[in-house]
Amino acid sequence: KFTEGYGESPNNPTKATPPLILSAAELGLFSTYTGTLARISATLTQQTGGVQAQMLEIDQYQLLNTANTNDWNNLYNNVVQPANDLIENYGATNQQYAAVMKIMKAMALGVATDVWGDVPATEAGMGNITGNLTPKFDTQESIYAYIQTLLSEAVTTLTATDGTNNYTIGSDDFIFGGDLTKWVNTAHILQARFANRLSKGDATGSANTALGFLANVTDAGDAKAYYGSVTAELNQWAVFKVDRANYLKVGKYMVDLLQNNNDPRLPYYADKTDAGTYVGAAPSSELTSASEVGSYIAGDGAPIPLVTYAEALFIKADASFRLGNLGDAATYYNQAVIKAVTQVTGTAPDAAFIAAYASATAATITEAQIATQKWIALYCQIEAWAEWRRTGYPAITPNADNVTGTNAVPRRLPVVNDELLYNKANAEAYKDIDIFQPVWWDNL
């Protein structure tokens, strides 16, 4: 027949390989962890200040359900979906790939639930596998459990000596280049991150669980988003700085705190202004002349941290503090601060700084200290907003000149409009939850 045999696309394949899918999912993960959600997190906790256009809207708490469709879709389309695809369709013969994908899926779902609360998780990203185009929303409580399951399954597979692996992970893994021990290490830190988050409900239990996960964690290597120097590989914070010039500056609270502390990270966190000084943008100041986000985050080829050993140390300090092991807490805290500074500046802080900010003792250590230094360390990471909500530190003042009429810092984002439109039956229940309503772990 004249028309038969022309249905197959010459442009796109119907089968791929695990390395191709892993590479794709990692870039999806980078985009999720370092994109708009990170800018929102940084702006709401006043690490940065939105001074123009959409960033000013965020600065003024104009967080509409139409604004984050790209971020929502990116998370599900570019991380969760390829993860499921690899696990289901290629995983049986590529167990290590499947395990790494489970870690990334857990990372994506962790961000989703911390930002939006209840979200689709167990049924999500399965449109091609189960045909389910309207996944149910899982409660945050069950998502936290699901994340732990994914992570522990991944650890089990990655530490097993046998298994079927047709492909070996290598340079297709931008994060660790196929070093599975580093993936295991990262999985443990993530397990601790999500366990420690539940402190409001169970201060002691969450601390013990978190410390348990961190028992064998080492400074093996931080999980970072790595970038290159050619156009398609650029650090997107650096690109944002240029393409969206004058939208986002360093926050006044951050600049003032670092300046006040004589913190050596300041020149890495912020660029000098035209006037040669460091100036932060206060909420609603629209101060376009304030300092740009510095090279640590927004450098041309700068890697952006996703999960770090410094964070693990802060979790240890925090958990120990809650258990009343103040000596341990102080020790871990001091280690954490030094590690955090070193990872930014490349050298250990000077004696004066150590004396002032990394010499806590059992007698002096406070929760505020731990949380505030952790907030500094988590500069421009989505985790900073979650931790601020959990601890309340640092004690930033809400932007009084915001568009909502409520004098408080938002504690979640509204479920995106497209989900209300196309997953109506499941999303409807979340339609009217406002941005000041705490998520489940924030309200225990």
Binding site: G28, Y76, K424
Partner: protein, 1007 residues
């Protein structure tokens, strides 16, 4: 008693002889054809009558009586109701036999419009046809929609046919496959490829509005068809005609700006910002320029635009003998746009030839070669664009001083390219080589049966090159970029039709066409990009440190069998039925073919009405037809692709990345169970001629589309963005009126009026299960275009203000309204009704005609206005030394609403309430796009030189286009489209390039 009658047939227009006219003795099969000089000879009886007919001309009937010489002149008057029209598949039919509405537009109307684009030339000339231009820059595309949108996310434009063979009318954008956004929102105004048709070659246009087209052309004509017929040769002495047209364009309308206040950031105290520094802001909230020493006022916008120039030369040669006729034409257009550096050149050559090889076999050829090239301007949401940096420029800044000593862009805000600098340094050039044509062969098997074949090809290569100089803001690392894109398309089309015509005992007349069609479309798109350039002003890909390339191709095949069967009874009742079964390669597994039937009928009721002077002709008609679409290519499977990572702010990372490739499943799910999209259109109509001089055609139609093929958006959480699916129902109902009248018809003076009026009511009846709203195409975060159940298709959708139950604006304690939590419908971008009215006066050799164009309703999002308010650039914002009280109500502690009295600063008023600053709802900038315009004004003088002068005729014309425009729209000419013909978005204006008005003079000389 039979005797020989002789005579001559001439053209009423210029008295020239008409060869090829068929002369038939009524009621017999006896007939002849006029020779090269228009003369004929036929045997007839005194009681006989002769019928003179010629395609495109009005038939005439003359009683023989005692005359030995019967000479007639035939007119091309398209207002007559017994004219002949070209319908689907090139089948010509008498208009009275048609059960559906067709509209014919003459060559003069195309030429008089003074448009280079044959689609734009149709504007306001046909009822039920909406023509949407995208701005006045050279080569900018024009979109055309007949009887409303019938599908959600696929093509809504009609099929374009030239001499029986479809031609490609794509609007091809230069875009990488890894570009994550809708590339129509920025970049240049791309051309729709019907631009390659030379208007001077067109003899007539038939608009097939619905059923007729769909039923015989199949899926590709589901949205109607526009059939262009080119001019052909005539036997007789070889004639040469030359015409020259010079046209001058001016920008028609621009947003009004203030020239009082200087550059400066918003704030309580205005501070002058001299501009051009890294810390400079783009705002114009500074102090009065007169109060700043050394500051001056510049009218940057007025200085910027230039007078556009258009020069068109056209030479045609026609001639031939009784056996062979030909027409050759050569046409050249040179256009310079109103935006500096923009231009268009088009050179076309056409040959049409027809030959009678034997008594039974005739062959004809029709072929064009066209070279279209030009330089285009950046448009839309684009810091490298024209209008964005221009309309935002503070009045205290001299934009014309556009470069620094080192040649880099000098601008008030360094994150925008100076528009002059951008035009000189970031050119976009495109070049299209195109050949299209066909060979048609007709073999007369018997007196009543013939076999016709028409085989055609349409092939083109469109090459485009976009350069961004080192330093341009278009590229995030400022290191420049080269993009090259080549589209190669080829369409091969062949029809074989067996046609029969038989008359039974003078009462029954049967015409039958039975045919088959094969069609193959192939396309290849090659894209290459080089970034991080080394040597300035050197634009070869070898100058790039980073290269990226991609390509894609497709083959689509369809085949069809069809018939068209017409019964006529006593020249009074006509019944036609057609059917087409089409197979397409684009379906999945379930179904690969579908059938389109149609039935239509007409009744000339005046045949039974006693002769009278009131209704001299009357026809009732009705038609019903099923149409539909097949899926786009390769939609059946879910495929792997290199994913895009887009957060809406940057272009994101893409593959290859650090030496690795990456793939994941495309976010568009395939579907192997696709069915064809179906539409059923019913129409009824009445055509009457009153008092012998008033023609009226009324049509009502009802088109229902169902199983609409749509990239149905799905919940992002499913891991996918859309699935191609059969979902939804939509209806278009409308009313069309065509009226024309010869108001005065004196010996030397005639006054004629023609009116077309139409309304279309579109309603989305149903979407996919559980879905009430779907986005038509991705647009802006703040505003999009949606199909919403119960609303017209394409509704603008975005953020709204909080209102109380009474609809009043609820004002907060700060004196400002706030944004409602739910976005909503902000209006229909399509007009409630449109109308065109032409009046023509002819006095001896002078013709004066005017075309008035009315569009009522149709909302446009004026993002330009909102941003200019925010920046303090509109004329309104000059009134800023005062406070404003926003009309609305305040909710008191008692739960009651009282009028708002809280004043807000001028900055809050314009930036938030009237602008697009944080806290503003996009509804504030959705405006009414209604207009009344004098679309055309033509004055013509035609003189026939008597005697043996080498010059036979001279014709002079003066033409004005868009000379007068009345609209409440606060921006550019509301005949605007950000995304052009390659998009389903309508009603978006975000720094769109402006429209133009034209003054033209033309001369035409016949040798």
């Amino acid at each position: 008693q039979t005797r020989t009658i002789t005579g001559k047939v001439t053209d009423t227009k210029d008295g020239s002889p008409l060869p090829g006219v068929s002369v038939i003795v009524k009621g017999t099969s006896k007939g002849t054809v006029t020779s090269a000089d228009g003369s004929y000879k036929i045997e007839a009886d005194a009681k006989d009558a002769l019928i003179f007919s010629f395609i495109g001309y009005v038939n005439q009937e003359k009683a023989v009586g005692g005359a030995a010489n019967i000479s007639v002149s035939l007119g091309t008057d398209n207002k007559q109701l017994n004219e002949v029209v070209v319908t689907a598949l090139g089948i010509t039919k008498e208009k009275k036999s048609l059960g559906y509405s067709v509209q014919k537009i003459g060559a003069d109307e195309l030429i008089n419009s003074n448009e280079h684009n044959v689609i734009q030339a149709l504007a306001s000339k046909a009822a039920g046809v909406q023509v949407i231009g995208s701005g006045g820059t050279p080569g900018a595309s024009t979109k055309i929609i007949i009887r409303g949108n019938a599908t959600f996310t696929m093509e809504n434009q009609p099929l374009i046919v030239v001499d029986g063979v479809p031609v490609d009318n794509s609007t091809n954008a230069t875009s990488a496959r890894n570009y994550p956004y809708n590339s129509n929102l920025q970049g240049v105004n791309n051309s729709n490829r019907a631009l390659d048709i030379n208007p001077d070659d067109i003899a007539s246009v038939t608009v097939l509005k619905g059923p007729a087209a769909a039923a015989l052309y199949g899926a590709s004509a589901a949205s109607g068809a526009i059939i262009y017929t080119t001019k052909r040769g005539r036997a007789g002495a070889t004639k040469v005609a030359y015409s020259f047209n010079a046209a001058f364009d001016k920008v028609s309308k621009l947003p009004e700006e203030q020239h009082i206040y200087s550059q400066g950031s918003p704030g309580a105290t205005p501070v002058y910002d001299p501009g051009g520094l890294g810390s400079s802001s783009p705002y114009s909230w500074g102090p009065a320029i007169s109060s700043v020493s050394g500051a001056k006022v510049y009218d940057n916008t007025k200085e910027f635009f230039q007078t556009g120039q258009n020069f068109t030369h056209d030479v045609s040669v026609t001639g031939g003998n009784d056996n062979t006729t030909f027409r050759l034409s050569l046409n050249r257009v040179d256009q310079k746009g109103v935006v500096p550096t923009t231009d268009l050149q088009r050179t076309s050559v056409r040959i049409n030839a027809d030959s009678k090889i034997t008594d039974r076999l005739t062959m004809g050829v029709s072929a064009s070669y066209v070279l279209t090239e030009g330089t285009k301007a950046q448009n839309g949401s684009n810091t490298t664009g024209v209008m964005l940096p221009l309309m935002r420029a503070p009045a205290s800044w001299n934009l014309a001083d556009y470069k620094n000593e080192d040649g880099s862009s000098k601008n008030y805000y360094i994150f925008y390219d100076n528009p002059y600098w951008s035009l000189y340094n970031n050119p976009y050039k495109d070049k299209t080589d195109r050949f299209y044509g066909n060979v048609n062969t007709s073999f007369k098997i018997t007196d009543w049966l013939s076999l016709n074949n028409r085989t055609g090809v349409d092939m083109y290569t469109q090459f485009s090159k976009q350069v961004f100089a080192i330093g341009s803001n278009a590229v995030s690392d400022y290191l420049g970029q080269i993009e090259e894109n080549t589209y190669t398309n080829r369409n091969i089309y062949s029809d074989l039709i067996l046609s029969g015509h038989k008359n039974f005992n003078e009462k029954f007349d049967v015409t039958a066409n039975l045919g088959g069609n094969l069609n193959q479309e192939t396309g290849q798109n090659d894209y290459a990009k080089g970034t991080q350039l080394s040597i300035p002003n050197y634009y070869n890909l070898n100058n790039a440190s980073t290269l990226y390339a991609d390509n894609s191709s497709f083959i689509k095949r369809t085949s069809a069998l069809y018939y068209d069967l017409e019964f006529a009874y006593k020249n009074q009742f006509f019944l036609t039925t057609t059917g087409r079964n089409e197979w397409s390669s684009t379906f999945g597994q379930s179904k690969n073919n579908f059938f389109y039937p149609s039935v239509s009928g007409s009744w000339i009721f005046t045949e039974i009405v006693p002769a009278n002077n009131v209704i001299t002709y009357g026809k009732l008609r009705a038609a019903i037809a099923a149409g539909g679409k097949s899926p786009s290519v390769y939609a059946a499977n879910t495929l792997y692709t290199n994913p895009n990572f887009a957060d809406g702010f940057t272009d994101g990372n893409s593959f290859p990345f650090k030496g690795q490739n990456g793939m994941s499943l495309s976010n568009a799910l395939g579907n192997v169970n696709l069915k064809p999209e179906r539409s059923v259109e019913k129409e009824i109509g009445l055509d009457v001629k009153l008092f012998g001089r008033v023609n009226l055609e009324l049509t009502y139609y009802d088109k229902q589309s169902k199983d609409i093929l749509v990239a149905r958006p799905v919940a992002g959480s499913s891991g996918f963005a859309s699935i191609l699916d059969n979902a939804g129902k939509m209806q278009n109902r409308g009313f069309e009126v065509l009226a024309s009248a010869d108001v005065l018809k004196l010996k030397d003076f005639t006054w004629n009026v023609e009116v077309n009026w139409s309304m279309n009511k579109n309603k989305v009846l149903e979407l996919a299960n559980g879905v009430d709203e779907i986005s038509v195409e991705s647009a802006f975060t703040s505003i999009g275009s949606y199909a919403i159940v119960g609303q017209p298709y394409g509704a603008l959708y975005g953020t709204k203000w909080v209102r109380n139950d009474a609809g009043q604006l609820v004002i907060g304690a700060n004196g400002l309204p706030s944004i409602a939590s739910a976005s909503g419908n902000l209006g229909n971008p399509f007009p409630d009704w449109t109308g065109g009215a032409r009046t023509t006066f002819t006095y001896k050799h002078i013709t004066l005609s005017a075309l008035l164009d009315v569009r009522h309703g149709g909302k446009i999002w004026n993002g330009t206005y909102a941003r200019m308010n925010n920046l303090g650039r509109t004329a309104e914002t000059a009134d800023r030394e005062r406070t404003y009280v926003i009309p609305g109500v305040v909710l008191g502690a008692d739960g009651k609403y009282t009028d708002n009295t809280t004043p807000v600063s001028a900055q809050s008023y314009y930036r938030v309430y009237k602008g697009d600053a944080a806290g503003s709802a996009v509804e504030n900038s959705v405006q009414n796009g209604s207009w009344v315009r004098l679309r055309e004004l033509n004055l013509g003088y035609k003189y026939t030189i008597p005697g043996n002068s080498p010059i036979k005729t001279v014709e002079l014309t003066l033409t004005g286009r868009n000379l007068w425009l009345h609209t409440d729209y606060k921006g550019v000419d509301p005949e605007t489209s950000l995304t052009g013909a390659g998009s389903n978005l309508t009603g978006f204006d975000y720094f769109n390039n402006p429209g133009t008005k034209t003054y033209a003079v033309g001369v035409r000389v016949g040798f």
